[in-house]
């Protein structure tokens, strides 16, 4: 039907009639053509504006279908990767089960060498098969390499198996907002990385002006768009301002923004200590900080407080340990203070370069000289700074102090009238003395001089960390030692984890004469080490009768004999204490037990005098001396040649490190089993069998996990198919032409058009002239 335009009620002209008739014909033809087009394309719209709401729905549905189509591709690919892994594990499970059967056959004492050799060959064969399985690839991607899908995960390294993948996962979308793990790391199937050596030490990184705001509070930061409300009560009035901290990147930015945002007419000075913020205002005023609206920035900055005094000491902000954290900023705290000279632009902030109380209350003395220099006398705790009296600027003096090394110094911007004037004025003229300048120093400094001793798979590396400046340098030194160790920051971001990726190898971290490993919390042999974990979980068996002694220690004087009953000892420290506190040992103990200064073990220091040799003997009925590592297997007492003499002339006997760690993996089990089979160690074969069961369980569990995921994918796939049908149906309703409707419309319009043409022709034929 043509558009409806009112027809004049009085008269019509011929031109008007013809124009309207032509319009109607054109409109009808257009409508017919549109219907024909709809029928031929199957689409009821050619342009979205023909039915805007439906078209927009259709466009979104089309996009969704495209996206879902890709999602289904993802799902199929994920299915293939997981399916390929599942298949491979089926073979692994079978091989391990068969091997277990063979090992059980040779686990007894009455076994021929030939039988054992046959099982050894089978172990070798299974090892190779497992390494191959661990290196399985599908479509160019290693299935068990973690997130490093292009790196071959397992390889033989000497007599060990090294895992070079990681525990990461590759994920893919299996629905628009659903990520799915499309692989299983080899560590979850075969194992390959040892448990973490994670000490109980919180390395407690210092807060500094360069600390990123996002890393405080253990790495959770202070939220998005942070702001605080800062109030100063001057006595006469309370002034409040809102400080927007959203542009703060570092703690220095936070301090400057708070200082700049102080309420009008007030002044706030913010100090960044090793732990948190200290806000100060004028004496006589009180300062308080509250939250803005529902924010939590003040609390997260540790400065949420009611009015108290003119000083607000914030809480510990606990910065996260980062790769970029400087090693000098770990553990204890550094003393800090201010050298205040009269006037502006000349104050100096002094910070100790090392942690500890030793640098608290330092006295700074300015003496006159020809140029700027500094010296520190630890005896008098005095920093003497030579200056050109009345000439040396704060910047020059600070540079001299920093160059000396004991302290770092910078000009204080608080004292400056403008940015360019910071530290440009002369400090107080010499002689001048500033007493008790510093405070806040505490704790210990990381021992950078001694280094670490790392052992893995028989390879020992003494690591010199003196050149390391950051945590990452330290991690690189350990990772780069190339003995199959992995060092990383722990998930709590407060310490370091070290793990081994070498299966079949023993791994230890010990001291190199200092305290580095202990301070970093990565020493594998500490006072807290449980004896039950010795000897790869065998422990330290003591006499069956708990009243019987386990060790007999004889000093070189021959008269000091210590009988030690270890039945009550659970940890290394217990053993040390039992020796040191033995009634026969005297006070101070004649034979002092302590952790080994170099490497690991219990060190016995014999300070007695005599012609004899310090010995540790086995007490009948107890294997403790052997399992603690003092006495070799089969011997009855310690090897006299192992006794050394220290610088003080004391004899020193150090036990072997029997608390070795290892990568927990099926490869480790098989390599240990192989060694046990070669040595005919029946007990070890038995333990290996138990581990083999655990490995088998792990493989089966991993396979079950893969099966579960595959099942999950199948469920998702069915749902996606249903969704696809629904989406296409919805799209069809919006965009597809109703053919029946269209054809019936076409027919109706054809008739209408025909009628219209007929009436038009009839009308045009009618004329009065025909009747004249």
């Amino acid at each position: 039907m043509s558009r409806i335009i009112p027809i004049p009620t009085t008269r019509v002209g011929d031109l008007f009639i013809r124009q309207r008739q032509v319009e109607q014909v054109q409109f009808d033809q257009l409508a017919l053509f549109r219907l024909q087009n709809q029928i031929s394309t199957g689409q009821r719209m050619q342009l979205p504006s023909e039915d805007a709401p439906a078209a927009l729905r259709a466009i979104n549905l089309q996009r969704l279908l495209d996206r879902k189509g890709q999602i289904r591709t993802n799902l199929k690919a994920s299915n293939q990767y997981l399916g390929a892994a599942w298949d491979r594990l089926g073979h692994v499970s079978t091989a391990l089960s068969e091997l277990r059967g063979s090992v059980v056959g040779v686990a007894g004492t009455v076994v021929t060498d030939e039988a054992r050799q046959a099982v050894i060959q089978e172990v070798d064969s299974v090892l190779r098969e497992l390494v191959n399985a661990g290196n399985a690839k599908y479509q160019g991607r290693y299935l068990f390499a973690g997130s490093r899908s292009q790196v071959q995960p397992y390889d033989f390294r000497d007599e060990f198996v090294q895992f070079s993948g990681n525990e990461g996962v590759l994920r893919s979308f299996v629905d628009l907002e659903r990520l799915f793990d499309t692989n299983l790391s080899g560590t979850e199937v075969f194992g390959g990385i040892s448990a973490a050596v994670q000490g109980s030490v919180d390395l407690d990184p210092h807060l500094t002006s360069r600390t990123l705001v996002s890393t405080v509070n253990g790495g959770s930061g202070i939220g998005s768009n942070p702001a605080i409300s800062l109030s100063i009560n001057t006595g006469a009035s309370t002034e409040t301002s809102i400080v927007d901290l959203s542009t703060a990147v570092t703690m220095a930015d936070v301090a400057r923004l708070i200082e700049d945002g102080a309420p009008a007419g007030t002044e706030v000075n913010v100090e960044i200590t090793s732990t948190g913020l200290v806000l100060r205002t004028d004496i006589g005023s009180t300062i308080s900080v509250s939250e803005v609206a529902e924010g939590r920035a003040a609390q997260q900055l540790g400065i949420l407080s009611d009015p108290g005094s003119n000083t607000l000491v914030g809480g510990d902000l606990n910065p996260a340990l980062l790769k970029t954290t400087r090693l000098e900023n770990l553990l204890g705290k550094k003393a800090q203070g201010l050298i205040e000279s009269a006037g502006a632009n000349n104050d100096i902030v002094l910070t100790a370069s090392s942690n500890g109380v030793d640098f608290n209350n330092v006295t700074v003395s300015f003496v006159a000289g020809a140029s700027e220099s500094a010296s520190y006398d630890s005896g008098t705790n005095t920093l003497t700074v030579t200056i050109r009296s009345g000439v040396s600027s704060a910047n020059e003096v600070a540079a001299a102090i920093t160059a000396e090394g004991t302290f770092t110094a910078v000009a204080d911007y608080h004292d400056a009238l403008s940015t360019v004037q910071i530290g440009t004025n002369p400090v107080d003229a010499a002689p001048a003395t500033f007493a008790n300048v510093t405070s806040g120093g505490s704790g210990e400094t990381l021992d950078m001089a001694s280094g670490l001793i790392l052992t893995n798979g028989g390879e020992t590396v003494t690591l010199d960390i003196s050149g390391a400046e950051t945590v990452e340098d330290l991690l690189n030194l350990i990772n780069g030692a190339d003995i199959g160790l992995v060092a990383e920051i722990n998930t709590a971001a407060n310490g370091i984890n070290v793990r081994s990726r070498l299966s079949g190898a023993d791994f230890t971290i010990g001291e190199n004469g200092g305290t580095t490993a202990t301070q970093l919390g990565i020493r594998t042999y500490t006072g807290a080490t449980e004896l039950a974990a010795f000897n790869r979980g065998v422990g330290v068996p003591t006499a069956n009768d708990p009243t019987s002694d386990d060790l007999l220690i004889t000093a070189r004087d021959g008269t000091t004999q210590l009988t030690i009953n270890l039945s009550t000892a659970d940890t290394v420290q217990d053993v040390i204490d039992l020796i040191n506190n033995n009634p026969a040992n005297g006070v101070p103990p004649a034979v002092e037990a302590r952790l080994a200064l170099v490497g690991n073990g219990i060190e016995l220091v014999d300070s007695t005098v005599g012609p004899g040799t310090l010995t540790v003997a086995v007490v009948e009925g107890s294997q403790a001396a052997q399992y603690l590592g003092f006495v070799a297997e089969g011997a009855t007492q310690s090897d006299p040649s192992a006794v050394q003499v220290d610088g003080s002339g004391n004899q020193v006997l150090t036990s072997e490190d029997r608390h070795t760690l290892e990568a927990d993996s099926v490869f480790n089990t098989l390599l240990r089993l192989r060694t046990a089979l070669e040595q005919g160690d029946v007990e070890e074969i038995g333990r290996s069998l138990e581990r083999l069961d655990a490995d088998l369980d792990r493989v089966n569990f991993a396979r079950a996990e893969l099966g579960g995921r595959l099942q999950n994918l199948a469920v998702i796939d069915v749902r996606l198919q249903d969704e696809d049908v629904q989406l296409r149906s919805a799209l069809s309703q919006d965009i597809d032409v109703d053919i029946v409707q269209a054809i019936s419309d076409l027919t109706a319009r054809q008739f209408a058009f025909q009628a219209s043409l007929q009436t038009t022709a009839s009308m045009m034929r009618l004329s009065l002239l025909d009747f004249i």
Binding site: L15, S149, A248, T250, I772
Partner: protein, 568 residues
């Protein structure tokens, strides 16, 4: 009255009927002439004569020939034509945009957009595969090309509309001149007697010019006592009887591009019109297309910057050894947020990791601070280069053109970026995927093009050749709420663009249709008064013929009477 007087009267009647028949004939001849106003001969009784005590009529006179016209309807029609022409330009332009967008098909921007992000899914599935990475780069290139072409086509329409503005100005001048000349001719023809509208043909011609002018620009028309028309546009006279003003096109400097605006040449005041094609051209060019291009720029800019912000923090299968920023800065010591970059970085920090090519696990991570809080010395390109240059193994400098250049000091070293909270990498074009900041300039970084560079595609987030973390983020980017866009996602922005076009097109069609119906109604009303009806003219013709025949018989009768007298 004498017999001769009677013959004279009959002769007069014959002449009057001939004139009437001529008018009818003229009407019939113009029955199909658009804009023609039918005419009518107005007959009045001839002056009377006193004959003794009698007063006798002397026949008929043609008083005048008048146009049958409803001036009120005509006036409204002038406005309706302008509104319709205005709306039809909008309708036409929206239809063109819809055609260019080509949504509901398989080759539209929507498909290119999803195609690109789908290709990143493929990288996510198989991050070690160079071919899938290369495919993703290709899909990104295709998306950028589609957006550029879309911009180009719409921009062409904008240019075409601008040319039509110039053509409209020329036509306005031409029509104004025509009306001015016709005003003079009509005045001189009718001699100031407007009641009879004698100069029918001239008036029709003038009305045609007025009609066309009203389609071009919203006008108001007043007929003066002299018969001349005054035509005003936006309250200012364009034509006043025998005078007119010239209009000219001047380039407007209000937008990035110079677009023509029609103004009076003498006063330089822009034509203030609210209807007509010219208004439609302005609206379509500056608002409809301008808004569309703005939205497209927003889409392209958001895609470039926000996508790059994520992308730039990722790492490829290989590290970087040399890198030059895509963007350059003329004032290298200015703070980066005031250095004129298309995208503005904020305060933040980023990590740059220098590693050995032979052992990528041995890394040196360096924090780079971007201080833009406006308090101290904010980070400039030079100070950023200095921070980077201080890193062992890395050299950084600012080129003469203001680009940041990075390179490793050894071929054994490579570097990568991560954790950029400032957006400076994306703003400077370092390790980015897209280049450009607008729809016209969007492209893909040459650094990742080609199979030889496919390994650089930053699919990892945990280090060089380590996982697909960044690909996961990028694959989900399409629906990710973006803070910079008020938490709208890229797909939301595109939907908004589509909504505006589709709803705009739909509305423009409805509005144009409404105006067409309104104009049609008025045209019907006009033609009901002014249109020629052949049948009606035939009746008139018959009537006139009959009168003519009767008058002739009357003359014959008088002649016979005269003959009788002569024969006496």
């Amino acid at each position: 009255m004498s017999l001769f007087g009677s013959i004279q009267m009959g002769g007069n009647t014959l002449r009057a009927m001939q004139i009437g028949l001529q008018v009818v004939g003229n009407n019939i001849a113009n029955a199909n002439t658009p804009g023609y106003v039918r005419q009518e001969a107005i007959y009045v009784p001839a002056p009377v004569q006193r004959h003794g005590s009698l007063i006798l009529g002397t026949g008929v006179l043609v008083d005048s020939i008048v146009q049958k016209i409803d001036s009120f309807v005509l006036e409204r029609l002038v406005g309706a034509k302008g509104d319709r022409a205005n709306a039809e330009v909008q309708e036409e332009v929206y239809r063109e945009i819809e055609g260019i967008l080509n949504e509901l098909s398989e080759v539209d921007l929507s498909s290119a957009l999803t195609g690109f992000f789908n290709s990143i899914h493929e990288v996510m599935l198989d991050p070690g595969n160079l071919a899938t990475r290369n495919l993703a780069v290709g899909a990104g290139d295709n998306l950028a090309r589609v957006i550029r072409e879309l911009h180009g086509r719409v921009f062409d329409i904008q240019q075409e509309l601008d040319q039509r503005v110039t053509a409209a100005a020329d036509e306005i001048n031409s029509l104004a001149e025509e009306i001015r000349l016709l005003n003079i001719q009509i005045s001189s023809t009718e001699g100031g007697d407007t009641s009879s509208s004698q100069a029918g043909g001239l008036r029709v011609k003038r009305q045609g010019a007025v009609d066309r002018l009203s389609e071009l620009v919203g006008i108001s028309v007043n007929e003066q006592p002299s018969g001349g028309l005054s035509v005003a546009v936006g309250g200012e006279f364009l034509v006043f009887e025998g005078q007119r003003r010239e209009v000219a096109v001047v380039n407007s400097s209000t937008s990035d591009l110079a677009y023509g605006v029609v103004e009076f040449a003498d006063t330089h005041s822009a034509i203030n019109t609210t209807g007509g094609e010219l208004t439609g051209l302005y609206t379509a060019r500056d608002e409809t297309l301008g808004s569309f291009l703005d939205r497209l720029d927003e889409l392209a800019g958001t895609l470039a910057f926000e996508f790059n912000k994520v992308y730039s923090q990722g790492q490829g299968l290989v590290g970087l050894q040399q890198l030059t920023s895509i963007e350059t800065i003329s004032d290298t010591s200015a703070a980066l947020d005031a250095a004129g970059l298309a995208f503005t970085p904020i305060s933040g920090a980023l990590n740059i990791v220098v590693s050995s090519k032979t052992d990528t696990e041995l890394t040196q991570t360096h924090e780079i601070f971007i201080d833009l809080d406006g308090i101290d010395q904010d980070t400039s390109l030079l100070s950023l280069a200095a921070q980077l240059d201080a890193i062992d193994g890395l050299s950084a400098s600012v080129s003469g053109t203001g680009a940041l250049q990075l390179s490793t000091d050894s071929t054994d070293l490579e570097f990568s970026f991560s954790d950029d909270t400032s957006g400076v990498l994306a703003a400077l074009g370092l390790n980015t995927f897209f280049t450009g900041s607008t729809a016209a300039t969007l492209g893909v970084n040459d650094e990742v093009k080609g199979i030889e560079n496919a390994a650089k595609f930053a699919a990892s987030s945990d280090g060089i050749d380590n996982g697909n973390g960044n690909a996961v983020l990028l694959a989900g980017f399409l629906e990710e709420p973006l803070e910079s866009a008020g938490n709208a996602s890229l797909v939301d922005i595109y939907n908004q663009l589509l909504n505006e076009v589709t709803q705009g097109a739909s509305t423009a069609q409805s509005v144009a249709e409404g105006f067409r119906i309104f104009e049609g109604t008025l045209e019907g009303q006009r033609q009901s008064v002014s249109g020629v009806s052949i049948d009606e003219e035939a009746i008139k013709m018959l009537t006139l013929q009959r009168i003519y025949q009767a008058s002739a018989r009357y003359i014959q009768t008088i002649t016979e009477l005269l003959d009788l007298l002569v024969d006496l």
